[in-house]
Amino acid sequence: MTALEAQNLIVQEFSGYDDWEDKYRHIIKLGKDIPPMSDELHTEDNKVRGCQSQVWLHAEFNDGKVVFQGDSDAAIVKGLVALALRVYSHQTPQDIIATQPDFIQKIGLDTHLSPNRTNGFASMIKKIKTYGIAFSLLQQQA
């Protein structure tokens, strides 16, 4: 599945929620369901700078695909991390670079992408993109 296809699935999944409370409940559940990130990956290097909630992101490059793991100490942000992983993990660097996180706006959560300095999630998307660029450069060198 491409990143775009993954986004479309998420948008479809969320179209069933018209009540914001239910939507957030679903996000919280998605966060709870992501496989736990091991302790040794909660490093300073993997920390995404955000003022209020802590977000961690780890990336590996396997067989031409970038594999992400992520975590947060805040439940809603962790749910958003889960969504971002569904879109961007196990994708090619090119796909990661080319795909904008439009789903966030489409499911009505764009406040979480505001350029507010308290916002760890926006920084995480940026970091995902940076990994995409870095791994595509690595590929070109190889």
Partner: protein
Amino acid sequence: MSFDVKAIRRDFPILNETVHGKPLVYLDNAATTQKPQAVIDTIVDYYTHTNSNVHRGIHTLSQLATNQAENARHIVQKFLNAREDREIIFVRGCTEAMNLVAHSYGALHVNEGDEIIISAQEHHSNIVPWQMLCEEKKALLRIIPINDAGELLLDEYAKLLNERTKLVSVVHVSNTLGTINPIKEITAMAHKYGIPVFVDGAQAVAHFAVDVQDLDVDFYTFSGHKLYAPTGIGVLYGKAEWLEKMPPYHGGGAMIRSVSFEKTTYNELPFKFEAGTPHIEGVIALGAAIEYVWSIGLETISKYEDELLRYGTEQLSQIEGLRIIGTAAHKAGVLSFALADIHPHDVGTILDNDGIAIRTGHHCTQPLMERFGVPALNRASFAFYNTKEEIDALAAGLRKVVRMFVN
């Protein structure tokens, strides 16, 4: 009580806003307060009728602007009960005032091995300028500790004072804990050693009357935007005898008497510390904000806000898993809490969807977060336009948060 909160709310147009389709419940007043129509009108009037540079021109508008700005200085002098207008320096806010004093007082009086005392309650703006000064001068920063209620330990403070101490800088009301500190006592103790005292009044002046002569503090600062005035304008009060001895902070226009390339002589107070074109409409609007506060009366305001704080404390205490941080005997304006082990970012997000604005995060007091063993806190903070109904809405919102996150 002749206090009609419904009428008061009509003075603040922003309180009619809706957020996510819900009426705005604004409980983030310690971060910044909303502005009454009188202040907004003052700014519009200034640009519509008066705009001109101050202390520069002989023409009518410049004189009008100068008169209005200097009248505002006089209003601030009365507001703080300073001895003279020239003891009132206009700055951008508390942060600039602290940097100014750290720089100008520090240049004169702080040397290697000297000590500066602050408290465990301080906002980063009352920590970092002193750290920078201490680093530069190889001086030492000493910290007055607090108890679990969030009150300063005066016995420990007494032990810190010595002949190497050059300045004591403490917050009047803690922005995180709400504690009202005994400034008069703190000042008297320092003055026994001839040590000047600087007080951060950011969270004090909107809640109760402050009399700098009665407190006998040497420096006092507040930010206009936490007192119903615009952002970018604040006040540094300093005893004239100190301000006269201190070198200027910024060089430029307005702060000089004569300039040649060999030597510049400085202007007199307060202009020595006001280099460049000031925030003129901010100054004038600050005067208007103080007059608005006076029209209600600080005593009335204190009484009403104390009742809000008491009611809020009582209502929130009934919520399961809620722990209030900051339980000092004397508090003003601020109600901080942890809610079970729910991250404040989650609490703030859910409340926001109900139109309720609170502050979540470390409140620029990271040392305090460490002291209380939390990464971040939730804070509701009150102004006289808030109501018990809004506190009920907050309590209901928090119960919803608990339902959503605890299971």
